[in-house]
Amino acid sequence: MSLRITCPHCGERSLEEYVHGEVFDVPGTIADADSRDIDRAYMHNNTMGEVTEAWFHLYGCRRWVYLRRDTATDEFI
């Protein structure tokens, strides 16, 4: 079964209605501005476990919704 995502405005809808967006999280250990830009442009935490993500409800309310998901199980929290 594919993912079902609960939009706070529209209710539970299928994954296909949404566009996935990443919430960027450049580590504080990266100090200089250029390195931070590069990290933000290309690098990913790629966390296995709980993450906060942005989903754009393209075929619904057309708003960004921020949700927590466990990437190991694909379950929303």
Binding site: Y42, M43, H44
Partner: protein, 403 residues
């Protein structure tokens, strides 16, 4: 074709040593190929390959086994053509029957833009040493009569395509076993069920690994992990441009006729080939959300079969036998990431996403040369990790066709 191995391939279960010249994390195609080439080309045999499960149990045993070089940029065409060449010799070299079969690959165009894309693909391939020709709908009908030239009642008309002459498939488990066997025969140790739990560092340098079976010192550590690469790289403090996405595929029951080529369509987002058992093997694009879950879904089966039947109507009469999922280390430019990481003693071969199987021989050969010489070979220099910081990414729409 007989699928039973002709002669047992037996891997030993050696005790874990205290120190090795090279420790390779990940006993998949790329890790084992690197070990094999270190032993056969450079006589470096004090090597341990560490695999947390069993060899070939990850993406090396889950891919759709396609070998091709019809990429869209010169650097990729050269690299994957090298891999095609090595694959064609691998049966003779290892003495193992890998069920390698040259099939040809038809990549179809259904729009004017698609026709331009396939013409460009053929031109770039020819210019950089790979055999691909532009073909007309009549040629397509001759090469693969099963294709519906008026697909979807004219919604996806076949307007042409590119035909990649030396595209092939091989039995993926056998490739893994042959490389493991060849490496082991020359002294490489393969440690299955050995999980890396940490890296040992001395100053800024990685000098060994911690495992569930004890610590090991290493001259060089190569991370050849697939979807879980970030777990290992973060132990070294290395940031990677990788996101892990699931990729699904399925096979049908046996199609009674011979279906020779591999057929792909970017617009319909699927590709199909026939396995040695006669099953039709069909794959598509990654799932849109990053995830480590290898759960398979009905939505994928339903939408992918619908698209496949649109182009290949005979599939309608077959039944789906099984489906599976692997988790892929996707790079942002659809090219691999190979070589130095900025941390001494710690190398990666990653970003193999959905295109790793075809790169196994050349990827291993080149990484072995890099480890042996300490210099990045020209063939893989374009795929270095520092290309992102240097703003010279290798965006390749030729691999975005998914397989």
């Amino acid at each position: 074709m007989n699928e039973q191995p002709e002669g047992e391939i037996s891997l030993s279960w050696p005790d874990l040593g205290k120190t090795y010249d090279v420790v390779i994390i990940g006993g998949g195609g790329h890790g084992l190929s690197t070990a094999y080439h270190l032993a056969t080309r450079h006589n470096i045999t004090n090597v341990a390959v560490l695999e947390q499960g069993y060899i070939g149990g990850g993406n090396s045993g889950r891919n759709t086994t396609i070998i091709r070089a019809n990429y869209g940029i010169p650097e990729s065409v050269r690299f994957y053509q090298r891999s095609i060449d090595l694959y064609e010799r691998l049966e003779d070299e290892t003495g193992r029957q890998l069920m390698h079969e040259i099939k040809g690959l038809l990549w179809l165009a259904h729009t004017e833009a698609g026709v331009r894309r396939e013409r460009a693909r053929a031109a770039v391939n020819q210019a950089f040493g790979s055999e691909t020709e532009f073909v007309t709908p009549e040629d397509v009908a001759r090469i693969c009569p099963e294709v519906d030239l008026d697909a979807g009642n004219g919604r996806f008309p076949v307007m042409g395509g590119s035909y990649h002459v030396r595209a092939a498939t091989a039995r993926h488990d056998r490739v893994v076993w042959a490389l493991a066997e060849g490496a082991q025969q020359r002294g490489v140790e393969i440690h299955q069920r050995t999980e890396v739990t940490g890296l040992q560092t001395n100053g800024d340098r990685v000098v060994g690994v911690e495992t569930n079976r004890g610590p090991i010192s290493a001259g060089t550590v190569l991370c050849a992990v697939g979807g879980h690469v970030t777990t290992i790289a973060s132990m070294a403090g290395v940031r990677l441009p990788i996101r892990t996405h699931p990729l699904q595929a399925f096979v049908t029951n046996r199609y009674a006729n011979s279906f020779k080529p591999i057929v792909a369509s970017t617009d319909l987002l699927f590709y199909a080939s026939q396995t040695a058992r006669g099953q039709m093997l069909i794959g598509a694009e990654i799932d849109p959300q990053p995830s480590y879950s290898n759960r398979s879904g009905h939505e994928f089966l339903s939408s992918c079969s619908h698209r496949a039947i649109t182009l290949l109507p005979f599939l309608r009469d077959l039944r789906i036998l099984r489906q599976w999922t692997g988790v892929c280390d996707m790079s942002p430019d659809y090219s691999p990431v190979m070589g130095f990481t900025g941390v001494d003693g710690f190398l990666v071969t990653t970003g193999w996403g959905t295109w790793g199987f075809k790169g196994i021989p050349a990827g291993g050969e080149q990484m072995a040369e890099l480890i042996a010489t300490g210099e990045t070979p020209d063939l893989i220099e374009p795929f270095s990790l520092n290309r992102f910081a240097d703003d010279r990414t290798k965006a390749d729409r030729g691999s975005a066709g998914t397989h």
